[in-house]
Amino acid sequence: MIWLETIANGIFLGGLYALIGLGLGFAFGVMRVVNVAQGDFIVAAAFIGLFLYPWTPVHPILVIIPVAVVAFLIGMALQWLLVNRVLGHDQIPQILLTFGLAIVLRNGMVAGFGANSQSIDVGEMRFWGFDFLGLRLGVLPALVLVIAIVLFAALHLWLHRSRLGRLIRATADDYQIVQLQGVNYRKVYAVAMGLAMALSAVAGVLLAMRGSFTPYSGSDRLLIAFEVVVIGGLGSFWGMFLGGMVLGVTQLIALKLDPTSGLMYGHIVFFIILILSPNGLAGAFRNAVFRK
C-alpha cells in the first residue's frame, strides 16, 4: 500500500515536472531556442510569488495568476530585447547568452534575498488529505497535478483553435515563409517566449508551495526540465507529460529506498531511457504538433 501511495505521489510530482519541462519544450518547439536561464527564471518566479501571495485575495494558490502575467511580460522582453538579437543558424550565441543571464540572475537573487531556503505558505491546505481507493493522498499535490493537466490541455487547444496559436504553429514550421503572409516572426517569438515563461513560472510557484527553494535551485529545475523534454522526445507535447511522470515516480521511489539520493536516480533513469530509445519515450508514437 505504501508503494502505491508513493507511485501516486510520484505521478502528482510528475505532473509538476512535466509543467517545468513544458516551458522549455514549447520554446524549443517553436523557436529552436534553448533557454538555459529557464531554471533560474523558475526560481525568480517563486520569489515573485513569495512577495505577491500575502496580497492575493481568496486563496494564496491564486498567486499563480499574477506571477504568470509578470513572467509573460518578462519573457516577451527577454526575447525582444536579447534573444532576438542573436538568432541565427548557429545556436551557440543564444545558448551562451542565456547561460550568462542565468549566472546574473542566480547570483543576483543570492545577493538580494540570501541563500536561505524559502517556501510559499499555502496555509492549512498543505495538510489536507483525501482517501482514494484506500490510499491517503494530499490535496495540494493532487491539485497541482490538475493544474498541470489543465495547462497542458489549454495550451494544446489554444495552439490548435486560436488565430495566434495557428500563427505560432506556422512560425514553428517555417519562420521565413510566415513573413510572406505578413507575419513578423520576431513578434511571434516574443509571444511564444512569454508563454513559455508564464508556464514555467506557474510551475515554479507550485513547486515553491509544495516544497522549498533557494536561489541555487535553478540548476536542478533546469536539469529536470531538460530531462522531461528529452525523455518526451524533443518537443512532443504529451511525451513531455509522460517524461515528467517517469521522473516524478522514479524520484519518489528512489527517495524511499535511499533518502540521501536526491535527483541522482532520476538522472540515471534519464540516461537509461536515452540509451534504449534515442528519440525519447514518445519517439515511436510521436505527436505531430511540432514535428519538423
Binding site: 495557428r166 504553429r169 513573413q179
Partner: protein, 236 residues
C-alpha cells in the same frame, strides 16, 4: 509609372554575387515571366524583392515607394507576396490552417477562403488534411492559395511547375486567368520557356545574374531565346 520596378539590383551570398545588376518593370495587371537556366539568379532576384535576402544593392520600388530595405512581413502587408520554390507549406498544419495564415497580412479583398476553394475545388475537399501529406500538385495549390489569401497586388511565383506532371501544370496555369482577372499582377519564374511565353505578356531571360534578353514573347525568336538562355552566340 509601373507598379513594381527593380533597378540595378545586385545580390550576393557572402563572396558570391548571384544577381549582378538586374532591372525589370511590372505594370499593373500585367503578367511577366523570368526564364533562365538553373543558377541564373532568378530565385535570388525574387527573394531579394520580398526582402528574404539582405545583402543587396540597387532599388526596388513598389507603387512609387522604395521598398528595397523593408522587412519581408512589411512588404507582404504592402501587397507583394511570393509562392516560394518548393512550396514550403506549413507541413504540420491542415490545408485550411495553411490558408488562414494569410489573414495575418490584414489585407481585405476578393480572395477569401471560399474564393480559394472555388478556384481550387479539390482543396475544399482536403481542407482538414495535414498539408504535409498532400501530393505535389495539391501542395502547390495550397501554396498559391496561401499567397492569395494575403490579397496581394503583386504575386511572385517561383517555379510552380517544378516536379509536377504536365496535366497538373496545365490545371494550375489555367487558374491564373482567374487570378489576373481579379487584378493581381504576376511575376512567374519558369524554366519551361514555352510555358512562360504562353502565360505572360513580357519575358525576361536571365543568364549568370544579368538580364540577357527581354521582350514580348511574340517579338522574340527561338534562336534569340536559346542564345540568351544558354549564353551561346547567336549565329546569323
Amino acid at each position: 509609372m509601373s507598379l513594381l520596378s527593380v533597378e540595378n539590383l545586385e545580390v550576393s551570398y557572402g563572396d558570391f554575387q548571384a544577381v549582378r545588376g538586374a532591372s525589370l518593370e511590372l505594370e499593373a495587371g500585367q503578367t511577366i515571366a523570368i526564364i533562365g537556366a538553373n543558377g541564373a539568379g532568378k530565385s535570388t532576384l525574387l527573394n531579394a524583392i520580398v526582402g528574404l535576402n539582405s545583402q543587396k544593392r540597387g532599388t526596388v520600388r513598389f507603387d512609387g515607394q522604395d521598398i528595397t530595405h523593408l522587412r519581408t512581413d512589411r512588404i507582404a502587408r504592402a501587397g507583394i507576396t511570393m509562392v516560394p520554390e518548393g512550396r514550403r507549406l506549413f507541413g504540420t498544419l491542415t490545408v485550411e490552417d495553411n490558408l488562414m495564415v494569410g489573414l495575418a497580412a490584414e489585407r481585405p479583398g476578393p480572395w477569401t477562403i471560399e474564393a480559394i476553394y472555388q478556384l481550387f475545388p479539390r482543396l475544399g475537399e482536403l481542407r482538414s488534411m495535414v498539408a504535409g501529406s498532400l501530393s505535389g500538385g495539391q501542395q502547390q495549390m495550397v501554396s498559391i492559395g496561401r499567397a492569395l489569401m494575403t490579397n496581394p497586388r503583386v504575386l511572385l511565383c517561383d517555379e510552380i511547375s517544378l516536379g509536377l506532371a504536365p496535366k497538373v501544370i496545365g490545371d494550375i496555369y489555367r487558374c491564373f486567368d482567374a487570378i489576373t482577372a481579379s487584378g493581381v499582377s504576376v511575376v512567374l519564374i519558369e524554366q519551361n520557356v514555352v510555358q512562360a511565353c504562353a502565360a505572360s505578356g513580357y519575358v525576361y531571360c536571365m543568364l549568370e545574374g544579368r538580364i540577357s534578353l527581354e521582350g514580348r514573347p511574340q517579338d522574340l525568336t527561338r534562336a534569340e531565346i536559346t542564345a540568351a538562355y544558354f549564353g551561346t552566340e547567336v549565329r546569323t
